[in-house]
Amino acid sequence: MTKITANLAKYQSLLALATMILVLSLLSDKFLTVNNGWNVMRQISVNVIISAGMTLVILTGGIDLSVGSILALAGAVAAGLLKNGVALESVDLFIGFTVLGAVLAAALVGAALGFFNGIVITRFKVPPFVATLAMLTMARGLTMLWSGGFPITGLGKTFAFWGTGWLFGIPMPVWISVSVVSILTILSRKTKIGRYIYAIGGNERASQLSGLNVQKIKIFVYTCAGLLAAIGGILVTARLDSAQPNAGMGYELDSIAAVVIGGTSLAGGRGSIPGTVLGALIIGVLNNGLVLLNVSPFWQQVIKGLVILLAVIIDRASAKNKR
């Protein structure tokens, strides 16, 4: 019993989330329904996926501002390949793409851009903030160039299923985000590379002296973040049945917010993926609740800011009492 309490206390944000859910269910009888539950889960799933990758990055003491742009580019690539394929006019070749092919290609693009981030950060010693800020700009530009600034729409049922379908009574995006979270949680807790990610963030020099290949691990982490952003982009595109060139704008801040609210330290070395899920849930529940209560859009922002502050304050206070 006490062990459970202790384990729960680790996810410090739980109290804040519980309070929010309680208050919202008192204010609106529409809030605590099964349907709305799925709603919230589906809505946060993209943020959860991106934020899981962001957690890894932040655990190493880095940051990734490019996730929103990579999301958009990956979405556009998937949609573009699916719809138009690739025509190599010079050799008179046309390559059509299946859903799987397009999805894999988009995932590859995301991973490649993440890899590029990793290389720039480790080999050229560019601070992560600058490197990924540059990527934010570049990937957005590439998205615009690829799509000409227009949405790519009409991608077919098979593709849309990944964003809108249900499987065994659970929405597909939720399946995907739950899988991502499970894999990354196990990765971070149970595998060597996971522990090394924490180690690097905790003390990079000590990790290096213990024989860890710090550069390789960092590159892995940024590649992961890029890949997950791409998966997020594919999901968003499948959900909307359309790749929007302006998709994902500002997602970097949402995602970092989820990570930090979830108790991961921006200095690295401390935090957890489940914590991040809680952080994303807090943000998602809040967004959903404010709309359910039909709070005016002007006030929404003020309230949202205040509640996030409050959540973190409650959180830090309860964490202190635990010690």
Binding site: S28, T33, N39, R239, N288, L292, N294
Partner: protein, 295 residues
């Protein structure tokens, strides 16, 4: 073939409020294309919805010595000073789509009348709903004046019918994904709505998808604004009820032509030339294509 200074063609600048929305991309690209047809070199500038960035662009354009500016302002008031600056530097500005609240700064303004367009949409909305029902309004960016022009035009009609109840008014930032999410949540609180009015077509598509996913596509009427490809297709397919068609290509081409005429010496321009927004419905959809009339 356009006028040439020495051997190089004259340059025309096209300043667009944001390229984050395909509608404006069409506007910019059409203007560029037309200007190039007329023998100019044209460059597009993206103000990213930021009045200050727009001011930067104007300064740079003046410094670079462009011959004319085809201008899609970010704000009716905030953009005046920019246009005046250009005028002072001897560069004529031609507004397209959105106006500036000055009758002297720009040479001419070819405008899409959002307000009136939404009045027409509002009237059609009332008719379709039979003056009775519960509806939701999705606003665009709350800091954008077009958001409010459209909303006001719509309400100037609809608010006269007490049996039309707005059960929720939320913002979705002109964004398809946001609109979908907001609509999903609203549908939880108000499963029994009859219609949704959206401040642009991207939001209309998002809202429609949420409604369709909830299995209510048959019961809830969705209205958009812009005339984007998806929505035109959707109206044709009987999914979305109506939209307001603006004519970005016509406006852009006309503005480019005016600039050309101005450079060639014409001066007698009307200050404001409204291009009517046309109501596109399932009945008249045959006449329309994306961003304009069917060819």
């Amino acid at each position: 073939s356009g006028p040439k200074t020495d051997d190089t063609p004259a340059h025309i600048a096209i300043v667009i409020s944001t390229l984050n929305n395909p509608w404006f991309v069409v506007l910019g690209e059409s203007a560029k294309q037309r200007a190039e047809e007329l023998g100019y070199e044209a460059a597009i500038f993206d103000s990213q919805n930021d009045n200050a960035k727009e001011a930067d662009h104007f300064e740079n354009i003046i410094a670079a010595g462009y011959k004319a500016i085809l201008f899609n302002p970010t704000d009716a008031d905030g953009s005046i000073s920019n246009v005046e600056k250009a005028k002072k530097a001897g560069i004529p500005t031609f507004c397209m789509d959105r106006e500036i609240n000055s009758n002297t700064a720009a040479v001419t303004q070819i405008l899409s009348d959002n307000y009136t367009g939404c009045v027409a949409l509002g009237e059609y909305f009332v008719k379709k709903l039979n003056k009775k029902g519960r509806y939701v309004e999705l606003l665009g960016l709350v800091g954008d004046n077009n958001t409010w022009n459209r909303s006001r035009g719509f309400h100037s009609v609809v608010d006269n019918y007490p049996d039309l109840k707005m059960v929720a008014q939320q913002s979705a930032d002109f964004d398809r994904n946001k609109a979908m999410e907001v609509m999903e949540s609203i549908l939880q609180a108000h499963p029994d709505i009859d219609a949704v009015f959206c401040g642009n077509d991207a939001m209309a598509m998002g809202a429609y998808q949420a409604i369709a996913a909830a299995g209510k596509a048959q019961h809830v009427m969705v209205f958009g604004f812009d005339g984007a490809r998806d929505v035109i297709d959707s109206i044709r397919d009987g999914k979305i009820v109506a939209t307001g068609m603006q004519f970005p290509k016509i406006m852009a081409r006309k503005t480019a032509e005016f600039a050309d005429e101005y450079i060639r010496g014409r001066r007698d321009f009307e200050q404001k030339i409204p291009i009517a927004v046309e109501l596109v419905t399932r009945e008249n959809i045959k006449k329309y294509a994306a961003y304009g009339k069917a060819e």
